[in-house]
Symmetry: C2
């Protein structure tokens, strides 16, 4: 398989996916790797705002619109697929890609679960699950970490996907 | 030179660059070409907003952050250069790239000029200028078009950069 590896952070709504990914980014960066993120937006997204020039140009029919400064670029592009493997070409310069969502894409998965708000985990019978993040007593048949155990989770990610 | 060609729309502030590019996009698309836009943002840009998840992930140190839907992707990426030739790799699937700004990048230029608000054009002595857009009587040593003559301007662009 072509590098970089793609892994997915999944969980029911409000389970803390964005915050977990934020912590993972910091820990993975601390270890010297480059990281890419794909946030799956089933219902579109509002990265560009009505009235902004980039929106006007996308609305006028431009296939790719980029805003470029010397340190950062922003791109809005028409695509025909949101399959993470198809999107891999935009991540050739990172060491690992973490997706938020994409629970049906078949990538190795980390589930984050909060028993306070959800009855049961999403991935009870999902053999692509490789880590389960929860502060509850529930166990699944994979390594389990507390939401505070980011270093241990990153050790596992590093061992499996970055070496 | 590798395709696609890059051309620049330049002009002093409020001369109408964004609107001209909007019209060009529509006319170029009507003729069946794919078009990419680069908007030069010398002072950075605010494509992602504080509080949005994509911003959190970029702020946490992610090198590339993408929001993906099945029809459109948005990407924010750290880069080390805003040189349009360096950014060409993101436009391999379009037929032409039009930049807004980049008057120092040395690409073939279209200047748009409004005499009501500016005393003189930007590109009086610029041998990369290939078209001058103005509703005034001022002439430069290149083909001149009124702001309404988008089809004629596109004919010139098509002849020089798309054939």
């Amino acid at each position: 398989m072509l590098k970089p590896h793609i892994i997915s952070v999944v969980g029911k709504s409000n389970s803390g996916k964005t915050t977990l990914i934020e912590k993972l980014i910091k820990e993975i960066k601390k270890r010297g790797y480059k990281i890419g993120i794909i946030k799956h937006s089933l219902h579109g997204f509002d990265m560009d705002k009505s009235g902004k020039d980039s929106f006007k140009h996308a609305a006028a029919g431009a296939d790719t619109v980029m805003a470029a400064s010397s340190s950062r670029i922003g791109i809005v592009k028409r695509v025909t697929s949101d399959n993470p493997d198809e999107l891999k070409k935009y991540f050739q310069d990172v060491d690992i890609v973490v997706t938020e969502g994409y629970k049906k894409a078949g990538k190795p998965k980390i589930e984050i679960f909060r028993q306070e708000i959800h009855k049961e985990p999403l991935c009870i019978k999902d053999d692509t699950l490789f880590a389960f993040i929860t502060d509850s007593d529930i166990k699944l048949n994979v390594p389990k970490f507390k939401t505070s155990e980011i270093e241990k989770l990153t050790d596992l990610i590093e061992e499996r996907f970055l070496k």
